[in-house]
């Protein structure tokens, strides 16, 4: 795997021409538009192994790429699809997937519909979080956009109703209503954590240890629906908005015990997520802030077929500032906070992750960028099934409460 990453990184670095990543061609009367992207990352941390990567030794095991094709069928109807592949440590595992694929019928500015696999609108950047070339950051604020569990929110198979409504002298409102099924993310961090860790009860609550039982999960998904309302205010460059998502997730599989297979099932009794956000751009400056709350009440059966319940109320958010110093250089910083259990003591390092990041982005060309980012993380131990990059299995010696990390990322896009 390491050799594969090095070869891929070298190929990406030396052969940008091979990745001339956008072209249009004609198929009969149709114009087909093709776009693509790729990125290669390197992470080094002074303690802990992060995102299932061996970051304490320095790891290049962060690669992703994708391409899309789309065409306008009629004046109002467009179709397209994007394919995506990634590997992040032990996640992703180079399994290609259909990132999105849908038909889009745009009746008027007030209303349009999409049907198929559609990227989910949640907060400012949920649907674009994979496209790191769009942002200053090498890693999006992980409190709100955790890369290891992106599959939990990234897309739904169903439909969207969307539109834009101008309000005289008040700017305009963009809305999205959606519903469908959340796809089964077999290669994501949630299932990795579920399979590689066992929850045990301790005084005051519970904690996670490396797995003492073997779980085989064969399904993780369920219906999801939600809405987003975004106000493009009359103050130029200022956007505020709110999102809501409700998911009913079922996880099924088996425990592998000495006595044979024992069924495993987890269901969420309540899993709403609420988000609020603000984004302000003025010339070269951009200021952004988001807040998110996820309540997750679930019940599952342990190998002894006893029902165990878990109630979580996680709150997270970040504030960020970036500034384009020169045509090819942008700098920025963000402070990101994640509290796993809002009702418990926030200062407990097992209950929070506070991340201060500082980034420099260099646009080597219009289609190539390179980022160097430092993270100063307090509270790298998180006892929650929600995860946020810190897993017990890759950290056999135990998780340390603080971590500093260097992230570098090279990206091609067009």
């Amino acid at each position: 795997m390491k050799a594969k990453n090095i070869v891929l990184a070298a190929a990406l670095s030396m052969s940008p021409g091979l990745l001339y990543a956008q072209f249009d061609f004609h198929l009969g009367e149709q114009d087909i538009h093709i776009h693509s992207f790729a990125s290669q990352g390197f992470l080094y941390s002074n303690t802990n192994n992060y995102l299932t990567m061996k970051t304490s030794e320095g790891s290049p095991a962060m690669t992703d790429f994708g391409f899309n094709a789309s065409t306008q069928i009629t004046d109002k109807f467009r179709v397209g699809a994007q394919f995506y592949d990634r590997n992040i440590g032990l996640l992703g595992n180079w399994r290609p997937e259909v990132d999105w694929a849908f038909g889009d019928y745009w009746f008027s500015r007030y209303i349009g519909v999409r049907g198929g696999k559609v990227k989910t609108v949640l907060g400012l950047f949920n649907d674009t979080q994979d496209m790191e070339f769009l942002y200053t950051w090498a890693l999006m604020p992980q409190s709100v956009y955790p890369i290891d569990v992106r599959g939990d929110t990234i897309a739904h198979i169903g439909g969207d109703l969307y539109g834009n409504i101008p309000i005289r002298k008040m700017g305009n409102f963009s809305y999205t209503l959606y519903g469908g099924l959340r796809p089964n993310d077999a290669q994501g961090g949630y299932l990795y954590g579920l399979v590689s860790q066992t929850r045990i009860v301790v005084p005051g609550g519970f904690t996670y240890i490396p797995a003492t039982t073997v779980k085989i999960i064969n399904y993780y998904g369920g219906p999801v629906y939600g809405a987003d309302l975004r106000w493009n205010t009359p103050v130029h460059g200022l956007v505020v908005g709110a999102s809501y998502m409700k998911a009913d997730i079922t996880t099924t599989g088996n425990y592998k015990t000495a006595g044979g297979l024992v069924p495993y099932k987890m269901v969420t009794l309540c899993d709403p997520t609420t988000a609020f956000y603000v984004d302000y751009s003025a010339g070269r400056l951009r200021l952004t802030g988001e807040y998110r709350r996820e309540i997750k009440n679930s019940v599952f059966d342990n190998p002894a077929r006893v029902l165990v319940s878990g109630n979580e109320d996680a709150r997270s958010g970040y504030v960020a500032a970036s500034y384009r110093l020169f045509k090819r250089l942008e700098v920025g910083t963000y402070h990101s906070r994640f509290i796993a259990a809002w009702g418990l003591y926030h200062g407990d390092p097992t209950n929070h992750i506070f991340d201060q990041a500082v980034t420099a982005r260099v646009d080597i060309s219009p289609n190539v960028d390179f980022k160097v980012e430092g993270h100063f993380i307090d509270g790298a131990m998180v006892n929650t099934v929600l995860d946020r990059g810190f897993y017990m299995a890759p950290n056999a010696g135990g998780l340390k409460p603080t971590m500093n990390m260097l992230v570098m990322r090279l990206s091609f896009h067009m």
Partner: protein, 141 residues
């Protein structure tokens, strides 16, 4: 003394005229298939930011941009109020979620005029003094 006074008054009048006249350095042009003949700044924003599929009552609008230069910079400043980098980032966010397309980006006024003239629904911008045969000029209300 009277001459100096007269010259000062003329200079001040000249400054006032220059400040109030300030015509735009660019003009908006459209394909003959575009039904609108006058558009607001908000409608131009809608067309180029792909928040509305058409201009007025016509068919799908096809915006075209220039790669750079003073006309392009003036258009960004007067109409879209975004930097070039921010605009490209915005378009890419649409392209890579499937929710929009990357507009055609051409090298100069002549290419823009040629594209607009031959493409149904096309809307673009060129320097105010550039000849634009085969297109119509949109008035900005």
């Amino acid at each position: 003394m009277k001459t100096i006074y007269l010259l000062l008054v003329c200079a001040m009048l000249g400054l006032v005229v220059a400040a109030t006249a300030s015509p735009s350095a660019l003009k908006l042009i459209a394909n003959e298939s575009v039904t609108a003949s006058a558009v607001s700044v908000a409608e131009v924003q809608d067309a180029f930011l792909q928040t509305a599929p058409n201009l007025g009552s016509g068919g799908r609008v096809v915006p075209v941009l220039e790669k750079g230069g003073p006309t392009h910079e003036a258009f960004l400043k007067e109409y879209l109020k975004k930097t070039d980098v921010a605009l490209l980032t915005y378009y890419r966010s649409l392209v890579f979620t499937g929710k929009g397309v990357m507009p055609k980006i051409l090298d100069n006024d002549e290419e823009v005029v040629a594209f607009v003239a031959k493409t149904k629904g096309a809307v673009g911008y060129v320097s105010a003094g550039t000849p634009s045969p085969g297109t119509k000029t949109l008035q900005v209300k």
